[in-house]
């Protein structure tokens, strides 16, 4: 007599509308993937609020939260757009060229 599988936590990710990223919704307890998918549909999709769901066994998720990895202390502004301030240099260039600042492009 084999022992039945125990309930375990399954994380549910949902997509609100086509093209959206998958976002974490919450978790359900279930004995296997099939029932987990039904329960995910119930708790995160019964109101037609999702167009897609991913259901993942919690133990299959690798959690990375170490701040030394994700928020290391030394300056990394060269990796971000904000790391290239040019306001003063552009103002100086416009003075020399006599050109006005270009109008902002409408989106």
């Amino acid at each position: 007599m084999s022992s039945p599988p125990e309930l375990e936590a399954w994380e549910v990710f949902r997509q609100e509308k086509a093209g959206d990223p998958m976002r974490h919704g919450g978790s359900v307890m279930a004995p296997d993937a099939e029932l987990a998918s039904h329960y995910a549909r119930e708790l995160y999709g019964r109101r037609q609020e999702s167009v897609r769901l991913w259901v993942v066994r919690r133990t299959d998720i690798v959690d990375v939260a170490d701040p030394d990895l994700l928020q290391p202390p030394l300056d990394r502004s060269f990796k971000k757009p904000g790391g290239y301030p040019m306001r003063d240099k552009l103002a100086a260039a416009r003075e020399i060229s006599g050109q006005a600042k270009p109008k902002a492009r409408s989106k």
Binding site: M1, P4, L7, V28, M29, A30, E34, L35, H38, Y39, R41, E42, L43, R46
Partner: protein
Amino acid sequence: MSVVSAPTVALGELLRSMADDEFVIGFSDSEWTGIAPLLEEDVAMSSLAQDELGHASALYGLLGEPTGTDPDALAYDREPEAYRHCRLLDHGRGDWAMTIARRYLYDSADAVRLAALAGGSWAPLAELVGKLVREERYHLMHVGAWLDRLARNDGEARARLLAALGELGGDAATVFTPLPNEPALIGAGILAAPMTVLEGRWRESIGPVFAELDLPMPPPASDPARGRLDHGDTFHLLWGAFTSVRYSEPGVTW
């Protein structure tokens, strides 16, 4: 194929039988709301019950349209013996195994019935059936998953499932009770085949599942002509409950 422009008596009987089936199973299974074996499962079973009630509303809507009869009046304002749901659904929800057994037999039978109505000549019903089929797929997936797990368990779960199937016995096949004036429905292109033929298709569809799970196939209906009559005490009690508030002050708006 001739197009039926308005429900004939035969069509009315069909709609009533389907609507009553969905209404009774929906009402019965909604009793699990709040007390199912697992919170997650509670939400699932409640969704299935709500779907059935929604289907019943839509079917009562079609039934009542020619006479302008309100779906609530059709659903609530009849004596118990005027309901035409199948005797399979006269059995109460029982324990979880009974609910699954009863539901599996009903949902698998309903799938065959709907397939025989899909693309029928009366557009309003054909359209509705197209939507119902899509919703009922999930029902069969879910109760099928449960039938499988209960049957494969080599302990109390399987024993209870077998007991439930035994209790349902000769009522299991009553979804396929021949309808009055059935030939008219077939002649009009609304129903693809007689109920006796549909029963055969049903047995073919569940046969492999039952064989794989080593479950006894449901016996033939014990009183085929009366499969949608003689509803018995359990349904009478249910009827008493669902009519109690409505009958407390007839005619008012709730």
